[in-house]
């Protein structure tokens, strides 16, 4: 039982570190990847808590769809950003 709690705490720490990375990094693509990693860790955590359906949804939407939407938005707004530099 203690081992499992230790794994949960470790994964929570990893999620916090990845979320901090998403704020700290200068490059926007790296931030998007870090946000995806937060979702992947959350999905693994759901999986360890014996909820595979929630994990599947979290992985598909959090890490797949939202990453794609962020990338699309970044692609659309790139020109404006380069003009400002």
């Amino acid at each position: 039982m203690e081992l499992q709690q230790g794994i949960f705490i470790l994964m929570g720490l990893a999620m916090i570190i990845a979320a901090g990375l998403a704020m700290h990094v200068k490059d926007l693509i790296s931030s998007i990847i870090a946000v995806g990693v937060v979702s992947l860790f959350a999905s693994l955590l759901y999986l360890l808590m014996q909820a595979p359906d929630v994990a599947m949804t979290e992985a598909a939407i959090g890490a797949g769809l939202s990453t794609l939407i962020f990338l699309y938005a970044l692609h659309k707004t790139k020109d404006v950003e380069e003009e400002n530099d």
Binding site: L40, L47, P52, M56, G64, T67, L71
Partner: protein
């Protein structure tokens, strides 16, 4: 002697978890975003093995579906990022 398979599976779970930790360290450290994408790819592929190991230990088939979702997701994510780096999407 009868529970030798369980012990071996547990040892492999430790190895796979260590691999996930190393990939996460590279993700935090990586100098450029391409290094981070490589780390993300490695992370996802190793997680598929971890998910299948969890499925074997807990004995539920539905975990394999989650593994398949991860496999599709890793491919689509990396190809989308590569496409974005080349200027398309």
């Amino acid at each position: 002697m009868t529970n030798l398979p369980e012990i071996l599976l547990q040892i492999s779970t430790y190895f796979v978890s260590a691999g996930i930790i190393l990939a996460t360290l590279r993700l935090i450290k990586g100098p450029s975003m391409a290094d981070r994408v490589v780390a993300l790819d490695t992370f996802t592929v190793i997680s598929i093995s971890l998910i299948t190991l969890i499925a074997c230990i807990s004995g539920r088939v539905i975990f394999l579906d989650v593994g398949m979702v991860y496999a599709i997701l890793s491919f689509i994510g990396v190809v989308a990022v590569a496409r974005h780096l080349e200027g398309g999407l």
